[in-house]
């Protein structure tokens, strides 16, 4: 009986077992995986509330939040609900384990629907998408935001399959898939990539099931309409958001980004799936492990087998389509690499909005991996090939089930950064004090930093500032103040009257001075922090509320005449000015 039923449940058991191994080897009670530029909401109830409004003013003094980095409303709801029941470290692990499992299992489901002939090759395809070296190499940043976008491909693939068979079930899968991508990191490019993936899948089914061309177009219209209707709540706001986003894109040297992203995408690396320029460099043991030519070269086994099959069966239109798309994806993925690398640069320059795909290896890479996994599920027929393929995948994905997926980083300069962190009590106390304040004011974090990712010495941390996701009040970021010239007054950190006058004019009620920043964060943190402290202590603008380990908290002083009912402090959020000054700026 068991032997009869086992094959039916084998896929779920295999992916479930790997996910459980991942969970058990990575979970550490009370610790959160925190690192990188995407962060994790430390106070999801606050973060969620802040994301519920079209005017998102927790950063700078307002960004119209059509969508933005970390604008993952659906994911925030899930994290919030999980936190109602579990400890934050548990809920993070449940979330990551669930997503990890889903990345393999949903891929398997899609492949088994698309080509139900061989269960083993479908399992192989799922394992390839779940555990391939490119993704494991990028996972050093514990990033549920990215995984959501990653899972969007197989889930929407399932939707595309059902559109023909059972239209409304297809729309249901597409709806969940598109909501998943919405929460993903860098969601605009991934949406383009996912819809492109869906169109390719529709064409594939169109060819294999001999659906006429007109119907294929109706299917594509259906999936695009489903995407628009599911995501209209933020998509409709994009028009104005791009005032910000467009300006940011204009300041970036997109050609430089594209060249940097493509630096590894030569033909050998693309065949061995080592095309992703790991953000970790050589700073993790896994990235060093993959630098070995012969180890990463093992992955060439896959294209050798499937290309031989695809070329042999090229006369079959379905197979020809798979191969042509594979080649087109290679061309897009290689970005600025020769040959014809200039074409990508020209597209970046002249095709409107193409610059959102400024990192071709990362953006097209995800689709490339998914397409390869799909090809594997169709072309790997022999048991021996499948067993070798599974062995290579499992061998090279060892960090996933040995507790090293989010590993600590050691740089050549001797710096060490921990992946799992306990947010220090001092940050929690400071956040609690600020959050208790009912007066509408802003929070400024000092000193100014050179990067939006900061380094904290005391906890060997590198990533987004902890307080960013813990404070209810609008936060003025201390990074890139030149962005729109609004906060140039922050350059007057030696002149207390000037600084205080402007800070109060911008409703800054709280100042957090962080003494924990490492040298990368500021030019000379020790001197700079001392200067700021001297400046703040020298004047009448702000008073120190307290010291919380490495944090000093300041609040705007207020002045009042006991006989008078009027007080002086920061400028209120809304007020009627007593006097008007007009300045002509030369």
């Amino acid at each position: 009986m068991i032997m009869k039923k086992l094959p039916q449940y084998a896929p779920v058991l295999i992916y479930g077992f790997l996910a459980m191994l991942f969970c058990l080897t990575h979970y550490k009670e009370g610790f959160l995986f925190l690192r990188g530029d995407t962060g994790y909401p430390l106070a999801p109830e606050i973060y969620l509330k802040n994301h519920m409004y079209s005017w998102f003013n927790t950063y700078w003094t307002g960004v119209a939040a059509g969508h933005a980095l970390n604008f993952g409303f659906p994911l925030l709801v899930i994290i919030y609900l999980l936190n109602l029941v579990f400890d934050p470290s548990q809920s993070q692990m449940i979330l990551l384990t669930g997503l990890f499992f889903a990345s393999g299992y949903f891929s398997y489901i899609f492949f088994s629907l698309a080509s139900p002939e061989n269960i083993k090759s479908n399992i192989l395809g799922g394992l390839f998408f779940m555990l391939n070296i490119s993704i494991v190499g990028e996972w050093y940043v514990p990033n549920p935001w990215f995984l959501l976008a990653y899972i969007g491909l197989p889930v929407t693939g399932i939707g595309c399959y059902f559109l023909v068979k059972d239209f409304w079930r297809g729309v249901l899968f597409l709806t969940f898939g598109y909501l998943s991508i919405t929460s993903g990191f860098a969601n605009t490019p991934f949406i383009v990539i996912t819809i492109l993936s869906n169109i390719l899948i529709v064409f594939y089914f169109g060819i294999s099931k001999k659906i006429n061309f007109g119907k294929q177009l109706v299917l594509i219209t259906s999936l695009v309409t489903t995407f628009i209707l599911t995501n209209l709540w933020w998509f409709s706001l994009l028009f104005d958001y791009r005032q910000e986003g467009g300006a940011i894109l204009n300041t970036l040297n997109v050609s430089h980004w594209a060249v940097d992203s493509s630096r590894n995408a030569n033909i050998f690396n693309m065949l061995t799936n080592s095309f992703m320029p790991s953000l970790a460099g050589s700073s993790t043991s896994y990235s060093r492990f993959l630098e070995n030519f012969f180890i990463a070269g093992l992955y060439i086994f896959f294209p050798v087998i499937f290309l031989a099959y695809l070329i042999k069966k090229f006369r079959n239109p379905r197979i020809a389509f798979l191969l042509i798309v594979y080649i087109v994806l290679i061309f897009l993925l290689k970005g600025t690499q020769a040959p014809f690398g200039t074409i990508y640069l020209l597209m970046l320059e002249y095709v409107p909005y193409f610059s959102i795909l400024k990192t071709p290896a990362e953006k097209f890479g995800v689709l490339f991996l998914f397409w390869q996994a799909f090809i594997l599920s169709i072309t790997f027929k022999r048991n021996s090939h499948i067993m070798i393929g599974v062995s290579i995948i499992l061998l090279l994905a060892y960090p996933a089930y040995t507790g090293n997926l989010f590993t600590d980083i050691s740089t050549k300069k001797g710096l060490k950064f921990k992946a799992s962190q306990k947010v220090p009590q001092s940050y929690k106390k400071v956040a609690a004090l600020i959050n208790e304040d009912e007066f509408n004011g802003r929070v400024l974090i000092l000193p100014l930093v050179l990067d939006y990712q900061v380094r904290y010495n005391s906890s060997s941390y590198q990533g987004l500032p902890f307080l960013k996701t813990m404070i209810k009040k609008p936060l003025i970021g201390n990074w890139n103040i030149e962005r729109d010239n609004t906060f140039l007054f922050l350059k007057n950190l030696q002149n207390e009257p000037v600084f205080s006058a402007w800070a109060k004019r911008f409703n800054i009620n709280w100042i957090v001075l962080n003494r924990d920043l490492a040298t990368r964060s500021t030019k000379n943190p020790a001197d700079e922090i001392k200067e700021i402290e001297l400046m703040l202590n020298s004047g009448d603008g702000y008073k120190k509320v307290g010291e919380f380990e490495t944090l000093a908290l300041y609040r705007a002083k207020i002045r009042e005449n006991s006989k008078d009912i009027y007080s002086e402090g920061i400028i209120p959020h809304i007020y009627s000015p007593s006097k008007i000054n007009i300045i002509k700026y030369e």
Partner: protein, 285 residues
């Protein structure tokens, strides 16, 4: 040959679709704000506002000049406001009889709009003990809260309004630069500005480098919104405003459409509609 044609045809179609798929997003230029005249401005009182002519176009400059002719800086009204959400604020203006300015410290954006309404909430002659107790207890913690004595003065002057039902115990600030933050104003309704016309954009200027500033002409308000104005306790007039980021309406409508769509999809799937006409058509049955 047939399949090659089909494959090439599909590839060409894909190419054209790709071109049209790029999200049709509007690009916009970030307004470049001139570098601050920091020292000059720091000598000004905090209650004063600064307009930089470089940030105003010709039309707005002339409106500002016109406005100043009727402006009396000794007659600043008292403002009472509450933040309902990051994109919506309630505001009552007390004791106005001449032109005044409303300065709202969010980054200037044309989508911030201001609507004239009746004053929010109702006046109370006295305040219940729980409110006063809360303010007194909290006074030690926060310097920004008004104490009982001040609240009584505010009440006498008619500067405070309260929601008609429910809690009347929330935060009330001291008067900073003629402005009180009063968290006891009514909560309002989501749809209240639907179909309403906001004040013309020409009166919406950039003030203090950054913020949204509206020039409010007393005559304009009296002439166009006579029903929204009431007489104040200490003379002058009172009027209410709603400041809202206009995206909010679009957001609510879009959210309703998305929510409804997801609901329909779930309901249809719950009822297990199989072999529906669309699926049959796709399958060519």
């Amino acid at each position: 040959m047939q399949f090659s044609k089909k494959t090439i045809g599909n590839s060409l179609l894909l190419f054209f679709l790709l071109i049209f798929l790029w999200v049709p997003i509007a690009s916009g230029k970030q307004s470049v704000i001139p570098a601050p005249a920091a020292k000059l401005v720091s000598d000004m009182g905090l209650g004063e506002i600064v307009y930089f002519l470089d940030q105003l176009d010709e039309k707005k400059r002339s409106i500002l000049v016109e406005f100043l002719r009727e402006y009396d800086d000794s007659e600043s009204p008292i403002l009472e406001y509450m933040r309902l959400s990051p994109d919506k604020y309630y505001l009552n203006v007390h004791n106005f009889d001449s032109n005044f300015i409303i300065n709202f410290s969010e980054k200037f954006h044309k989508n911030w709009e201001i609507y004239v309404v009746k004053p929010h909430g109702k006046k109370l002659l006295s305040i219940n003990n729980s409110n006063s107790q809360k303010n007194i207890q909290s006074a030690n913690v926060s310097d920004y809260k008004a104490d009982l004595k001040k609240i009584r003065i505010f009440l006498q002057k008619g500067w405070l309004s309260f929601q008609t039902e429910g809690h009347q115990e929330s935060f009330i600030s001291k008067v900073f630069y003629n402005s009180i933050q009063n968290e006891n104003l009514p909560r309002g309704k989501i749809f209240e500005t639907f179909g309403e016309t906001s004040l013309p954009e020409k009166y919406h200027l950039t003030g203090n480098y950054l913020s949204n500033s509206w020039l409010i002409s007393a005559d304009f308000i009296k002439k166009n919104y006579p029903k929204k104005i009431i007489e104040g306790i200490e003379g002058g007039y009172e009027v209410g405003f709603i400041i809202e980021f206009s995206h909010k309406k679009l957001f609510i409508i879009s959210l309703a459409v998305s929510g409804l769509f997801v609901l329909i999809v779930i309901v249809v799937n719950l009822f297990k509609v199989r072999n529906d006409s669309i699926s049959l058509w796709f399958r060519g049955v």
